[in-house]
Amino acid sequence: MGGFFFARWLFMAINTYNNFVILQKKKLFTIFILFLFAIVSILIALGSDEEGLSFIPKFSSDMDNKIFLLLRLPRIAMAVLVGAGLAMSGTLAQAILRNPLASPFTLGISSGASFGAAISVFINVMSVWWTIVWAFVFAMATSAIIFGLARIKNSRPETLILGGVAVMFLFGAGTSLLQFLATEFQIQSIVFWGFGNLGRAGWTEVAIAAVCIIPPLPFALRLSWDLNALVLGEETAQALGVNYHALRLKCIALISLMSAAAICFTGLIGFIGLVSPHIARMFLGSEHRYLMPGAILFGVILVSLSDTLSRTIWSPQVVPIGILTSFLGVPFFLWILLRNKKEYWN
């Protein structure tokens, strides 16, 4: 009798084991499919111009070649970087703050950047580069405040979220004040900066953004299992040997660098950081080893498709991409939200 029970026990255990391994392989396959989708959306973005959607870019004249190499290619490269950076920042923010509403925007980083950009316009800096520098510096200053709050050992995730939202209002008020005092032309520049725009990107900008966004990605991926443990609760994670406070500081540093770099070159491209991790979670679950690559790929897909749309929908006008990401992302997000009866956060 004992032998029978043991055999049954072993059979069930092996069964569970295999199911789990198969599920992991399925997730890998999903990521592969997403990767193909990302490639396709990048190709569409590269091929399409004011005349319509296409996979193949035109190289009929010298002018075409120049436009492609010096304008379109860096623009799409920036789209990919921004999509990846914002999506990863959002994933990290939601993980360490243990909150589905968290994103680089709710941490106040984007409002800081806007305020910095507004100052640069207000004091009439002579080059675009100074606007970028001002935006970056203020984004990092905002992060420093959040970082300081996180340094206080007992601060709860809620403290960081409320702190971020408070800082957001503070910088929002600052930007409004500058708009109130500014000339008409300056107001226009400030508002336009806020729309988000990939057209400002040249190869130098892309190179700098790449240096800020690409190296943090593998760092973040290495934190997967600590973040997985943190999903279960702060105390549980600590009981499992995770150094929660160090983890939190590391993540805030990574979020700041990636989102500040993304925002200062392109302005406010909303919604990507919030929604990419959620969409990825619906397809891949909460395990960060799969969730993170999935979120990055969704970020890339959303930004490059939005950019294609922004250039073609009302051509030859280019609609600011920050407007389109929400117009494109929200219906899609609501659709899968309503289609799936399962809950994706607690």
């Binding site: 569970t16 679950g285 809950e343 994706y344 607690n346």
Partner: protein, 263 residues
């Protein structure tokens, strides 16, 4: 498990307070030995959860030391400590949904580098089957009943393969049958695998039936010793501040049942 000298968790004269005016623990000394079940009893706010947090080094005592197998717990590397002591909290507090398998596999965190090894997945599958959770392996934990969640928390603590397990009111959300199931399971594990268990309980009768020793906590004071000696009318009335009745069960086990006097 290899023979380890001094295979205990030992509290040496621990004093702890959250602020200057309110001392929670004063000169507390007790130990949890190999294969022993030690119960933590006391009114709400008497320091049961504090004791767990002290062992996990989430809190720092004002005085005294805690030794895990002879090593000071605050000097151990975090993953080393997590390989010695597992902790099962009262509740599930997931921020995002995870499946039963993932939630339990997370207990292998101290052993996992980039991804779980075959052993990690295998141990998880084994524990799930031992706790009758195999059929639920791919279900979302936040959609399960209180009793099932409690089992998942236990499974996670057990998959950590530690010589000591801390259980914070594992029977809090459970009906009577599940309470007995869980406590029987813990007793089997402590006897068969020689695991030392520190368990916070509210139910005096369950505690007197299942534990070998108890720590009875009250304001700034405590009693520690064999369960049969410590749990009696005087001590219970003193600790909980209610009058107690006791009844002897008329059967071969001759258990004593405790019940507060109700006016």
């Amino acid at each position: 498990m290899s023979k380890i000298k001094n295979n205990t968790i030992q509290f040496n004269d621990i004093s702890f307070s959250y602020n200057l005016y309110n001392t929670i623990l004063e000169n507390l000394s007790f130990s949890v030995g190999e294969g022993e079940i030690v119960g933590l009893l006391g009114p709400n706010g008497s320091g049961k959860t504090t004791i767990f947090k002290l062992i996990l080094a989430l809190l720092k005592p004002q005085a005294g030391s805690i030794l895990i197998q002879g090593q000071d717990n605050r000097l151990m590397a975090t993953f080393e400590r997590a390989k010695k002591v597992a902790y099962a909290p009262q509740d599930f507090t997931n921020s995002f949904p995870t499946t039963v398998f993932e939630s339990v596999l997370m207990g292998r965190r101290p052993y996992i580098g980039w991804g779980p090894s075959e052993t990690d997945i295998q141990r998880t599958a084994e524990i799930l089957e031992s706790l009758d959770l195999s059929d639920l392996a791919e279900r979302q934990v936040n959609r399960m009943s209180g009793g099932q969640k409690q089992k998942v928390i236990l499974a996670r603590a057990l998959v950590q393969d530690t010589p000591f397990v801390l259980l914070d009111e594992p029977t809090g959300n459970l009906d009577l049958r599940r309470q007995v199931e869980v406590l029987n399971l813990m007793r089997n594990i402590s006897q068969n695998k020689r695991i030392g268990i520190l368990i916070a309980l509210h139910d005096i009768n369950m505690a007197s039936y299942y534990t070998d020793k108890v720590v009875l906590l009250s304001d700034n004071n405590y009693l520690y010793g064999n369960t049969k000696e410590i749990i009696n009318k005087d001590t219970l009335e003193k600790i909980y501040g209610v009058d107690m009745n006791s009844y002897m069960v008329v059967s071969e086990s001759k258990e004593t049942i405790w019940f507060p006097k109700i006016n």
